[in-house]
């Protein structure tokens, strides 16, 4: 254990420098990441370039892809939907960010909740509810038609996907943009005023360029999330997009159809490209300029007229953002809801159906997401420790590999697992590994590892090295220092990582939908998907959706509480920070 120090040179006297506990753990983690992330994805990419009959490398598959009108259309649609979602999400987020950072505004708390309400509901859960509210014969259009004599095609085809996605993902832009604006020190603006700039010119030349990196980071995230998403288009029955096409090819035509792999390659390439581009743009542009004790931009009071306007904008956006939740609630408690603004009556029937027929979904979700999240924090803690506190050669690569999962869409990981593990038979008659329920846990674990890892890294970075050195100088071995000092001090971060991983894994659909082989082994998200396929199933589906929202909502709330409690405790003990 003791061979791996922060500075390998200092500890070169220890007897077994190469076989330390940290090295063994590092190698194990590397093997896990290779087997369940790198190799499956590499294989998918490899197959995309493979001639299905002869087994030679070829570009033929890509040629076929771009020859097909359907695929060209899907490619265009995916791009169009992602770009438009960024535009609509910006239109929603911009006024909110501006109002909170530039004005003394009592509704700031309202805006903060606006920023997190959408995130507690996975977009595909709200999708069906949204079409009942905003569809051609949904509540809003029925009312519009009745009183004003026209309808607006909110949910027609791609519009529906754009609306649902932008309502769900705008918080990414809101959070990043607000943080960027808040991080601009007052003196940035004041020195410009001092030199003669004011008003719109000041905004254009100083404030806007300083906030740009934050905005782009959020926008890139929204773009890529929408580009990769499978659940929403699937539930809205929009199949001419890339992710649904990949899913349909693999599940419909078969595991050997090259088109699924070509699409996967395009999805991965786009993800990597936009992450790389946003990193490249961000490099050397850490514009956080706030000084110790200095606040962000100067805020001013609103006049009464401006206040009315601000509240109007915020309430309108709030209504829009709450509409999926509202629709879902109506659907879950309503009897029949068709061609009318509201359901005909209300009932608890759907919850009864769920609790009598579908408890396995709930049980499976808790088992899968719980195990995956537990594994995530174990891996996350180990990787964080190895990267930050040891001098293990190549340790950064553990971080890079684990984080690379961010750039792998769920569909692609699912396809990779199917391809790689369908031939591997498990012992004890459990059948092929690709259709074993355990593989769902592995997929969830890999998909959520980056979140848990970030939380653990942040927690470890906040622990002053001197706290561990003090323990060592008092005679604690490296292993007992980790056990008695480091991990207990990281508890808050680890718990927050667990809850975040759990809550997001509980509603993951894109990878699981490829890997679920039996309905009895399916988790909640898949159950919702199955129910929503038929009009009669919408009620119970929505009831399950409500349960999902509760799980994610409670999880998000808990992790916020844990993080806050941790921060307070840290602030109370000044010695804990470096």
């Amino acid at each position: 254990m003791s061979a791996i120090g922060t500075d390998a040179g200092k500890r070169s006297f220890t007897p077994f420098p190469r076989l330390s506990g940290a090295a063994v753990a590092g190698i194990l983690i590397a093997i896990i990441l290779m087997a369940f992330l790198i190799l499956p994805v590499a294989q998918v990419i490899y197959v995309a370039f493979l001639d299905a009959r002869t087994g030679t490398l070829t570009l033929q598959n890509f040629e076929d892809f771009f020859r097909s009108t359907l695929f060209r259309q899907s490619f265009y649609n995916s791009f169009y939907v992602s770009a438009m979602s960024v535009v609509v999400a910006t239109v929603i987020a911009l006024p909110l960010a501006y109002i909170t950072t530039r004005f003394n505004f009592a509704g700031a708390a309202l805006i903060q909740s606006l920023g997190f309400i959408p995130l507690i509901m996975p977009p595909f859960v709200g999708a069906v509810a949204m079409s009942l509210l905003f569809g051609r014969n949904g509540s809003v259009n029925l009312l519009l038609d009745q009183y004003l004599g026209f309808k607006i095609p909110f949910m027609e085809g791609l519009n529906g996907v754009i609306l649902v996605q932008s309502i769900h993902y705008f918080p990414f832009i809101l959070i990043n943009l607000s943080a960027a604006l808040r991080n601009i020190d007052r003196s940035m603006e004041e020195s410009a005023q001092n030199l003669g700039a004011s008003g719109l010119r000041l905004f254009r030349r100083i404030v806007f360029p300083l906030a740009m990196p934050g905005y782009l980071a959020g926008a890139a995230l929204v773009f890529i999330k929408v580009f990769d998403d499978l659940g929403t288009p699937l539930l809205l029955n929009v199949n001419t997009m890339l992710a649904p096409q990949a899913y349909l090819r693999i599940t419909g035509v078969g595991i050997n159809d090259p088109m699924g792999y070509v699409i996967s390659f395009i999805l991965v390439a786009f993800s990597v490209f936009s992450l790389w581009a946003s990193l490249l743009f961000m490099r050397g542009k850490d514009y956080a300029t706030t000084q110790k004790g200095g606040g962000g931009l100067a805020k001013r009071d609103l006049s009464t007229r401006e206040k009315v306007l601000a509240y109007g904008v915020i309430l309108f956006i709030l209504a829009l953002v709450l509409s999926p939740h509202l629709g879902l609630t109506l659907l879950a408690f309503g009897t029949i809801w068709s061609f009318s603004p509201l359901p005909d009556g209300f009932t608890l029937q759907h919850f009864e159906t769920v609790f009598t027929q579908s408890t396995q979904y709930i049980y499976n979700t808790i088992l899968y997401a719980g195990t995956a999240a537990l594994l995530d924090v174990i891996l996350g803690t180990a990787i964080a420790y190895i990267v930050i506190r040891t001098g293990l050669p190549g340790r950064r690569w553990l971080d890079y590999m684990a984080t690379a999962a961010l750039a792998v869409p769920g569909v692609v990981l699912g396809i990779g697992y199917l391809r790689m593990f369908h031939g591997i038979q498990l012992p004890f008659g459990m059948g092929p590994m690709a259709s074993w329920w355990g593989i769902i846990i592995v997929a969830l674990m890999i998909r959520r590892l980056p979140y848990a890892l970030r939380a653990c890294m942040a927690a470890l970075q906040q622990i002053s090295l001197s706290l561990e050195e003090a323990a060592e100088s008092l005679g604690a071995k490296r292993s007992s220092t980790i056990r008695r000092i480091t991990v207990p001090l990281m508890t808050g971060g680890i718990l927050a990582g667990f809850v975040t991983s759990f809550a997001t894994a509980a509603v993951e659909l894109s990878a699981t939908i490829m890997l679920v082989s039996r309905s009895s082994e399916a988790p909640l998200a898949y159950g919702i998907y199955l129910y929503m396929q038929s009009a009669a199933g919408r009620g119970p589906g929505a009831a399950l959706g409500i349960l999902a929202v509760i799980i994610v909502g409670v999880g998000t709330y808990l992790s916020q509480r844990i993080i806050e409690r941790d921060r307070r405790r840290r602030a109370a003990a000044p010695g804990a920070q470096q």
Binding site: D185, S187, M188, E190, A192, N194, G196, A197, Q291
Partner: protein, 349 residues
Amino acid sequence: MTRQTAGIRIEDVHLSFGPTKVLEGIDMEIRPGEFFAFLGPSGSGKSTLLRAIAGFGPRPRGRILIGERDVLDLPPWKRDVGMVFQSYALWPHMNVRANVAFGLEERRLPRREIGPKVQAALELVGLAELADRMPSQLSGGQQQRVALARTIAVEPRVLLLDEPLSNLDAALRVQMRRELLALQRKLQLTTIFVTHDQEEANTTSDRMAVLDGGVIQQIGTPQELYDRPANGFVAGFLGTANILKGRIENGAFRTASGHLLHIGAPVAGAQRIVLRPQNISLTDAEEGADIIPGTVRHREFLGSQIRYLVETADGTIIVDTLHATGGTPREPGSAVGLRVDSTNAPLLV
């Protein structure tokens, strides 16, 4: 850099943040071309006053005149004062040249005039060759110079410096303050320098104002303030001071414990005397004129000097003695006599 520099007149300025009074009845006049310092501890209101001159923060009551014009109702961008921020506030998305050109562009100067002016300002601070760097690629001292160049490029009528040296290391601080002073003399620019460091204020300023609790304690040249402090705060804030209680008696000062000290001109009703540590010496005699007996409690070796803390009936007195190489210092615990040279010692009411 030829514009007419202006004086500043501050008349009865008051400012409160809610119930807290941060500036109370500030009155002062700063002459054209003067290097003036605001000196005070943190929370004394010195930065608030500077920001009020520049037009930042809430509008105070009273009048602030730059030249002949009351600027209190002008927005910052119309005041024509140049301010160098404590954090430098260089815009990280612009290179050095763009930062310096900014103010000139805002003044709608023709492009062909901006280039040479930027060049001249950068040459003045000795950074002409770094014009294409980004602020993040500069050292702290270089950033400071860019901030200065950016401000003087627009030829303001008044230059305001908010703790400009506080982010630099000790050696650089000494060098920068000399350069600042040289630059100010060259440009003949009215300058206000805010600092909490008495040495900085002493070494640079023509005159200074000492502030505490939002109130001006005293205004004068550094030497005036040191030699003739108006009150205990100024005496203690500028240099080290032993302040002994007592009363005037027959043209001399009798300390509370009864020792008699010679003084210059007596001040009516004076109850305290300010004794600087270097005006007291140690002697073996324990009685006599101008001698206070005591016991050495603590000794600090400062190199050129040795500082003793001596316990006396009038309280603990700090004594600085010159250290000559090879001299033998007094040991803690030993009895000594303090010979006080109080002929020019300030008396406080």
